[in-house]
Symmetry: C2
Amino acid sequence: MRLAETPAQDGFHMPGEFEDQAASYMIWPERPDNWREGGKPAQKAFARLAETIAQFEPVTMLVNQDQYNHARASLSPAVRVVEMSSNDSWMKDCGPFYVVNDAGDIRAVDFQFNAWGGLLDGLYFPWDKDNQIGKKVADLQEFPVYEVAAVLEGCAIHVDGQGTLIATESVVLSEGRNPGGLTKADAEKIFHDYLGVTKTIWLPEGYFMDETNGDIDNMLNFVAPGEVVLTWTDDTSDPQAEISEDAYERLAVATDARGRHFKIHKLQTPRVLTLSEAEANGVDPINGMLPRVAGQRLTASYVSYITTNQAILMPIFDDPQDAVAHEQLAALYPTRQVVDVPATEILTGGGNIHTIAAGVPGHHTGGK
Amino acid sequence: MRLAETPAQDGFHMPGEFEDQAASYMIWPERPDNWREGGKPAQKAFARLAETIAQFEPVTMLVNQDQYNHARASLSPAVRVVEMSSNDSWMKDCGPFYVVNDAGDIRAVDFQFNAWGGLLDGLYFPWDKDNQIGKKVADLQEFPVYEVAAVLEGCAIHVDGQGTLIATESVVLSEGRNPGGLTKADAEKIFHDYLGVTKTIWLPEGYFMDETNGDIDNMLNFVAPGEVVLTWTDDTSDPQAEISEDAYERLAVATDARGRHFKIHKLQTPRVLTLSEAEANGVDPINGMLPRVAGQRLTASYVSYITTNQAILMPIFDDPQDAVAHEQLAALYPTRQVVDVPATEILTGGGNIHTIAAGVPGHHTGGK
């Protein structure tokens, strides 16, 4: 059902990722011009993540027709496999946003998706099927839908569920997403009307060299309202150090929608990871696709973890810092189990694990 | 989940169509080599049927990616639209069978589908996507699935839910469906093992000129255990008269799984309907597809009605007999509303309305 008003008018707002979650959705990767070796290693990594999430809550894997039988055979019965056409596999970015009200009703908000910048600086063309996923998933779930004309991805924002949103200017205001680019005022009105946000905190940019223009979800994550973890590096020779420091300074003086100052936890990155020659050569290059080049930096951060009711699924990179980050997150989430998810394969496709699984608000108490 | 045993071993059986139903599934028609005028009139007819069923129970319309936006826009919010690839649109024939146990658990049974006869005398090639629909829908619904190697369509059988099955030899034993053809003993073992059937009643053939080889569902329907309605014509110049009379004689002396004799209600067909020149010319002919020829007989019967918890959806053909059949069904189903569904457009595609909507067992008390 298409809704005529806005969520704000109807008393709905977007909840935080640490709030109750009923299920997760993912998309099966397959395109050989983005995923090395015909997508086979990525499929194994996605399957492993799906099985891990399924230990804690129901998981649906969306898959193109041509890969349906393969995906079904690659996944255990704990994962529901549903056919749905896609251009690539970044569920959190192309899937629906969700808003809730005080009565516990859930509705979907369908922003437009244009592969992080359309024809100007987007990452693939066409993106028509990915742009349909928001509506299709909302319909599959039988949630009423608010349609929004503006382009926005799920990983472009983080909210605290209490009126606060954090985003990067480089993404939300980018010219490639919305013609001419949105102004901050434009964006803040959209956040207010469609996500129930009353206070937006802007950071200038995201993780160094992030090909999405720097989505917020590789920079920081909300542990709870008023409490964030921030990607950090003590290595001042790394350009990321300056970006993180700038973010820290802004967050340190900011107040949220309820007037609180933030508690900020620094989460050290692993060593700088780069694409190997073999990894780059495993991708089938085509015109119009961002080329994968040996030596290019991968956007490895631990803040791109996935929050479920009972667990934090944390990306790991075969790095000594993995264990440190694990302990740190375990301390920050005392009621949740922290589970390590090997993530390097996901990074080779241009993103991190937070972008490939999208939680659906609601109540669920355990896995299958 | 794929199950290792058989439904019979696990205490499951197929319920009758007059038993509790939770929802219905349909497939959006589009192929221009079967549906005239690019499928547009058929789409309107399917949409109308979906909206009608949705007044009584939830309806899901499955649709190929290329028609998703059009189908979604053509249907009201009362109908859920879900992407699923198909070759054509005969849900009851290619979708899953369902079995239930005394505890009310529901499982799916996935027979193979080869377009009513495969390369020998099937109606289209390829049929690979239609053959996947059983598994996909079962997975979508999260029902465990029994896989069966044999070919069988939903409209090839009718059951009373108490151990009795009625089928036509011309369909079930056809050489095109199963290599070499099944023997009656083969078929009866399959019916026993996978549908919980203990008594099969065979009719030699189905409705005159039915291109499926004569599926049972255009010949008769169960009103209740021990009670059937049979397609009938008093016009002895119509070859159907002899077929119906033969069926009547066999049913009159048969006993069902519980030893009961049948109460048989005769349901007069409308006038003989044929494909018009304009209708035949509206189909795009291709090699390998059964040609549509002006003057070819359409298989118009009223027994191809759809049973839901609260309503009987009855095909009508702009014929004086429509009202007579309506009254007769209203008397046979005193607790259900009889709703007329214009069906001539469906007949031009080679089937009747019973084949395009598949009910799912379960509990539901009303429409959206």
